[in-house]
């Protein structure tokens, strides 16, 4: 997949996917503090996944609650994570698996109903959950390349966001939601 200046066609699907993954990793790794990491996360979701409705929930293991840490394009107060995910879905995500809701084909706006919940892992624990709540109209759904990008976010976003080098200045307030 290395640069081939003589091949002037557009990148293939596989190459495009590799480029996205590489750019996402690089953007997260180069984040300068927590605010920049949050901006990087928003940019990755908007530019590569195709969503502008996102909520980041921070997990408080001691109190077994989720707190809205940051959101974009949605009023997070209206959003109940445990109810949206259900017990089984929540446990699934807390174990480190992404949870993607398939489109509801009985609805006319099925695409808009596609959702994904991505565990952000740090030191083998889910420390936050990224909820992607609506896709842009031109994006028809999640595909395999999105799943690979979810994995990158799951493995590499929590460090810049909540790791030892992150600053907590961007932490947004939010009401606690019981797990």
């Amino acid at each position: 997949m290395k640069g081939d200046k003589h091949n002037r066609s557009g990148p293939s699907g596989g190459e495009m996917n590799d480029l996205r993954l590489e750019a996402a990793r690089k953007r997260l790794a180069e984040s300068k503090g927590q605010e920049d990491a949050i901006e990087g996360l928003r940019e990755i979701v908007a530019n590569f996944i195709g969503s502008e409705e996102i909520v980041l929930f921070k997990v408080d293991r001691r109190s077994a609650t989720f707190r809205v840490f940051w959101s974009f394009g949605i009023d997070p107060e209206d959003y109940d994570l445990p109810r949206a995910l259900g017990d089984a879905g929540l446990q699934h995500v807390m174990r480190g698996e992404c949870h993607v809701e398939p489109p509801d084909h009985n609805r006319s706006n099925a695409v808009a109903k596609v959702k994904a919940f991505i565990p952000l892992r740090f030191a083998n624990q889910t420390v936050a959950i990224l909820a992607i709540l609506r896709l842009l109209p031109q994006k028809v759904g999640f595909d395999r390349s999105d799943m690979e990008l979810f994995k990158v976010l799951s493995d590499q976003a929590a460090g810049p966001l909540f790791g030892p080098n992150a600053h907590s200045s961007a932490a947004a307030g939010g009401s606690g939601i019981r797990a």
């Binding site: 495009m16 480029l19 590569f48 842009l136 109209p137």
Partner: protein
């Protein structure tokens, strides 16, 4: 001499990606700007062969930057392709009213982007 593209986006991620696609898959030279104001200034200075520009940006958005470039003799004929998350017809119409030549929506498809650029610049 290779053709020059001015890529404009306030998102570091989008700039990184678009630049990477262009550098790997075309012979075009790439210069960047991170908002509309900087784009207008760089377009005057660099005289690119094409401008690939995001719409929603701080300081000056893509529509306004497009209008400004169209008002200036040195940049009025440069093809401008806008990149946006919004694909609604009314939004695209606003883009064309501002003077853009074409539109591409996010998430950007690399093959579509390269084909579109080549349609203006050739290979």
């Amino acid at each position: 001499m290779s053709k020059k593209i001015l890529v404009v986006d306030d998102s570091k991620t989008a700039l990184m990606m678009e630049r990477e696609i262009l550098e790997r898959r075309t012979t075009y030279q790439c210069v960047t700007a991170s908002d509309g104001q900087e784009a207008v200034e760089k377009a005057q200075l660099e005289r690119p062969d094409l401008v690939l520009m995001d719409v929603v940006m701080p300081r000056m958005n893509g529509f306004e930057a497009c209008k400004r470039m169209r008002q200036q003799p040195g940049t009025r004929d440069i093809p401008i392709v806008l990149v946006t998350t919004r694909g609604e017809e009314s939004y695209m119409e606003a883009g064309f009213q501002s003077g853009c030549n074409d539109y591409i929506t996010k998430p950007v498809d690399g093959a579509e982007l390269v084909a579109l650029l080549q349609s203006y610049l050739g290979e």
